[in-house]
Symmetry: C3
Subunit: 332 residues, 3 copies
């Protein structure tokens, strides 16, 4: 399979310097791309790799035009990383020639489910009673879409995803737990991508809601009645507890935990492995993470940390004692 | 679908004030419930929402009776949250009219498995050789129940659950790992609920044991030979390493990690994202979590934390030096 | 089912003291093994349990020979834990009599996939276009092996594993996210074991690579373009972000997070729940974990931690002030 440079700029725009007839048979990182491959430079930090790259053609921004021209063929685009993303899409479309049936015969689909004819349901998926699936949405293999849950248009749900399992709700009853049946559903907007084995629970009474353009990585847990604003992205292994409301355009790093019933404003960025224990009203970057260290050093610091509050008191006492002493000397 | 208020108190008890013939067509939170919906007030903190609620009827405790009567229809119950839980169950039973076959034809069931006729096995489940499933237990879609593993009565296993994968056991062998075959199984008690994509590994020699009434949320990992006492509940993304013994009536917050070979007493509560590194003999509430902060402040504090042990030594030195100095002044 | 002691040493070597005809019907821990069971002692710490063990035979190292002989039957082996591992394998082989078809009829296999005839594919697995599976490799139930991904020989993939879902790659585009199609695949070496519901994402351009002999526990997330060196082992719930390169013979504890684009040398050991935020060039043991404490104590220490940097400054100020004062007294 090959794409001519000319076909790429025809499809995606950009300013081609070089032979439009040159066939590209792959996309590769700048440092490893060969003469028949396309590479890109988006971060000026890696600019020095440009001159020595053997790539057949390089996508660059306007600021790197001169440098790139000095090397050889290039495509100049305003946003090279975005341009690169679109090239990968072009590539994928070329490659995905064989289509297969819209609904794989091994999938188990309830007759009451409403599935847009343009949607694709992969092997061994389960679509339960009353579920709805929008146009051009793809469920890869082994996805479960629960009763009455809906997924918008152009979504991509990877293998093992579970939408609409029961939220975790129990009332204490004489030492045991009485189940609170989860009567809500899950509503997922358009252009949402959900990673492998990620789970989104149905709401207790109201629905759990995932906004348009949200991107969830693998092995994420979204509790019941959570709301996630548009275009928010979460990395792998994140856990969001029940009824948390997360704003739009947020990012949540891998392994972070958001406790229940909290509200996060729009444009909040949470670092990896951070535990969000309170609502956050201001956009910004928030972190809470024990710094890694050699184990022996960590052991000493962790032991001291368990006495930190008393260390603070002792410091206060020393400050006071010293101050009093110095003051006493000033006196006549 | 609608339930008359009269039918609710007939089924669940409680003291109805209002029109028994009133039809309820949904359950909703106090602040959003409409005239045909039922709401509940369990936490007195939200008492002020009661007066303004538009709910058709409100479940309240005896202490809120007067306030609720002043507003309109109500059901007075000793434990309103528990009563609410039971209403959700009543609701669910009404709604789940269409039943389907007890064992979905797409499930793969070994002929040697012993399955109670009242159990229900959903689509695309796998039940291996020698597995046992008790009365009224439900396996939703895509559950795997491994060889020789057993699940008690009235359990609910959500989509993607894996019971009885091999525990993680290897003996070092000249730089490589030699597999220790996992010869035990998993025994799950009665009234256990296990969330989507949660895994419970089989024991190495003895069995992994999950007690009656245990509730596990989604994406939890339970290692081999773990024992979990009755009515213990764990939130999503928890990891319990091999051979940990966790008591009864414990709670473990989301994302917490329990290291292997530890023992936790009954009634221990572990906060979210806490790492349990030692056995806990006393009931109580335990936490270990780096506090979240603005990233720039976290950076400074984290850097200081890596020197905490030396800060403690420096504080000690200052204390001593000051004390000696002050003592020297006392001397004649 | 029973194995004679003679058959065990015949298969695995070791020095048998006792009746070769004695039939063993199970393997059990030293403290609970009965007269028809085999136990082992590998850690000399548990040596005192040996005398009182009721086991029919005990595997011990040369240093425990005398002690073991005084008790009864034993097998002396240079590495008793490794010997025990091999006995479990022998046991498993005996027990796994019924084999079943090499490819379960419920599995969905693309005709273009290349599967060694000795491989075994369990129920409800999905093997996509162009995938390759090596000799004696086993896919348990409900495994997805994505397009063009390959698994070497003698691998074991547990239920729910997803190999080759898309890596998490998006370019920002005017507030939304533009998908970067993931054009690489996953290459898994020989003798790799992957735990239940673990995910290994395909590379963006190049492949994600898992080395020979790697062992991954359950619910692990391996991001795109990660490379894991030979014989590295990771416990449950670990997350490795994209493009991290992890050396050979490393261990990563449960729930640890490795951030993206980092490099870890060979023989690095990461403690459970530790966040690796920088590359590690030296072998060794590294930790970062907030110590668990009673909740009330934790609250005080965590509050102080948020002021640690200013405490350090205050300590510095006190040190300086005291030093100046003491110096001033020395002056004539």
């Amino acid at each position: 399979m090959a794409l001519r440079l000319g076909a790429i700029v025809e499809a995606l725009g950009g300013e081609l310097h070089g032979d439009a007839a040159l066939g590209i048979d792959g996309i590769a990182p700048l440092e490893s791309a060969g003469p028949s491959q396309l590479a890109f430079l988006s971060n000026p930090k890696y600019q020095q790799q440009l001159a020595s790259s053997r790539a057949g053609c390089v996508i660059v921004g306007p600021a790197q035009r001169a440098l790139a021209l000095a090397r050889g063929a290039c495509i100049v685009a305003d946003a090279p990383y975005l341009y690169f993303a679109k090239v990968t899409q072009l590539w994928k479309r070329q490659r995905a020639a064989v289509a297969g049936p819209a609904i794989h015969p091994s999938a188990v689909i309830d007759p009451s489910a409403q599935i847009d004819p343009s949607a694709r349901i992969g092997p061994l998926c389960v679509v339960e009673r009353g579920a709805r699936i929008g146009a051009d949405t793809v469920l890869k293999s082994r996805v479960t879409l629960g009763e009455d849950c809906s997924v918008g248009a152009r979504c991509l749900l990877h293998a093992g995803v579970v939408i609409g399992a029961d939220g975790f709700g129990f009332a204490p009853n004489a030492g045991a737990w009485e189940k609170i049946e989860q009567l809500g559903a899950v509503r997922i907007g358009d252009d949402v991508e959900i990673g492998a084995n990620t789970c989104v629970d149905r709401g207790a009474l109201d629905d759990t809601v995932i906004g348009n353009g949200v991107k969830l990585d693998n092995l994420i847990q979204i509790g019941h009645n959570v709301q996630i604003g548009e275009h928010t992205a979460m990395a792998g292994c994140v856990g969001v507890a029940g009824s948390a409301h997360i704003g739009a355009h947020c990012t949540v790093g891998g392994g972070a935990i958001v406790l229940g019933h909290l509200t996060l404003a729009d444009r909040v960025n949470i670092s990896a492995a951070t535990v969000v224990t309170r609502s956050i009203a201001q956009p910004g970057h928030y972190t809470g993470m024990f710094p890694i260290d050699e184990n022996s050093k960590w052991e000493k610091n962790a032991a001291s940390l368990k006495q930190l509050h008393s260390l603070r008191d002792r410091l206060k006492a020393v400050e006071k004692s010293l101050e009093q002493h110095l003051k006493s000397l000033e006196k006549p």
